[in-house]
């Protein structure tokens, strides 16, 4: 059976793509952020996941606002990136695991999560930048299952709903018959706001509270309304929903292994976290 080996949370600010392309990792502005990935690289080298299930939000590459799924699951063996119109370099494609995708899709719909299934799906910087950060050599030795959550066009799914989506995805992964090692990932955030007179809003105290509660007390975060999240975390800080889905997927014992938090990267409070997950079934056997 497949095992969930842990979770990764990371910011996905587009400017990171330019910094990577220009080789600015050691630049004083960027170093405090990129240094947070040294641990991630060691963890990946040790744990060697076969697949990564990525919770993220699309920013107008694959989905336009005319047809906006609340939750969408990719079911492809390859996911291309294309020009996003912001002057960031086009990324290489990522390999997918369509069989795992369809298993997750089947289990989700059986569990009454009526997701949109996508046999042709482009991934934007919210997936490609985290992969570039995880595997800086450019060799991505994992297959992905992208799961898009609408964080753009209100009404958005509630934090509790996204956490429960994660739980259902976690259950689906753990019922997959192949002996895969699977990591789950949530991208975006933390606090930031790009639009309006409140542009530039950052909330260090709330971000810290979120990071403190994610491992041991995620229920404290699922009680917020979307309106409260926008107020506390900024209009785009609601990308925390992706992190909550990632956390929800880990139903066993979860420990915080790593945290890096740096203000600012572009307009954003940048965070990188790694969580260890001890599988529920394994714990029973121990």
């Amino acid at each position: 059976m497949a095992l969930i080996i842990g979770g990764i949370g990371t910011t996905h600010v587009p400017a990171i793509g330019n910094a990577i392309a220009k080789g600015l990792q050691q630049d004083p502005y960027w170093r405090p952020f990129f240094a947070g990935f040294d641990y991630v690289h060691r963890w990946l080298a040790r744990e060697k996941p076969d697949a990564v299930v990525v919770f993220y939000n699309d920013h107008g590459l694959n989905f336009f606002l005319d047809k906006m799924p609340t939750f969408a699951v990719g079911a492809c063996n390859e996911y291309r990136n294309e020009d996003e119109g912001w002057g960031i370099p086009v990324s290489r494609a990522a390999m997918g695991d369509a069989r795992l995708s369809w298993h997750i899709i089947n289990e989700l719909v059986t569990g009454e999560f009526d997701i949109t299934m996508c046999q042709d799906m482009m991934i934007d910087h919210a997936v490609t930048i985290p992969l570039q950060l995880m595997y800086p050599s450019g060799d991505w030795p994992v297959k992905i299952v992208p799961i898009s959550i609408n964080t753009v066009q209100h009404p958005l799914p509630s934090p509790a709903r996204c956490f429960n989506l994660g739980r259902a995805v976690g259950q689906a992964i753990e019922s997959y018959a192949e002996p895969l090692k699977v990591a789950v990932m949530g991208t975006g955030g933390l606090s930031h706001q790009l639009d309006g007179e409140r542009a530039g809003f950052i909330n260090k105290d709330f971000d810290k509270l979120c990071m403190d509660d994610l491992a041991g007390n995620p229920q404290a975060l699922t009680g917020y309304s979307i309106h409260e999240l926008v107020e506390l975390s900024g209009a785009q800080g609601v990308e925390l929903l992706n992190w909550l889905a990632m956390r929800g997927a880990m139903r066993g014992e979860v420990t915080e292994l790593h945290r890096n938090y740096h203000i600012p990267i572009s307009n954003t409070a940048a965070a990188t976290m790694v969580f260890g997950h001890r599988h529920a079934a394994k714990r029973q056997a121990a």
């Binding site: 107008g60 066009q153 790009l194 209009a235 409070a269």
Partner: protein, 115 residues
């Protein structure tokens, strides 16, 4: 019944009302994922905006390069950022414009938030 909330200052939630109002403007901005469309916009901005059916408020806001007015006319910031990209502007430039500060002052405010 929809739940009514207090307004969050300086924040326009991109909800159904905004989405409906801004569809033409956001559709035009979505087209800027294609470099040929970015070139076509630069070649003849009036014709390009007319092709996408922008209303008078949207056309005026685009002509003025005024982000707050584009948002008031239904623009979504992720899509407006694609328009800004045509002029080599990023979200920090947009943040400075919306808050009425210089880019340097806007960046300094962000850095100060790390305190």
């Amino acid at each position: 019944m929809s739940v009514s909330h207090h307004a969050i200052p300086g924040t326009t939630l991109f909800d159904g009302e905004q989405a409906q109002k801004g569809l033409a403007l956001n559709r035009m901005c979505f087209s800027f994922n294609d470099p040929a469309n970015r070139a076509a916009f630069l070649h003849d901005e009036d014709a390009y905006c007319a092709k996408y059916g922008l209303n008078a408020a949207q056309r005026a806001a685009v002509k003025e390069r005024n982000v707050l007015k584009m948002i008031a006319a239904g623009g979504n910031i992720y899509y407006l950022a694609k328009l800004a990209g045509i002029f080599g502007l990023n979200v920090q430039d947009l943040g400075a414009q919306q808050t009425g500060s210089t880019v340097e002052a806007f960046k300094a405010k962000l850095a100060a938030a790390g305190g």
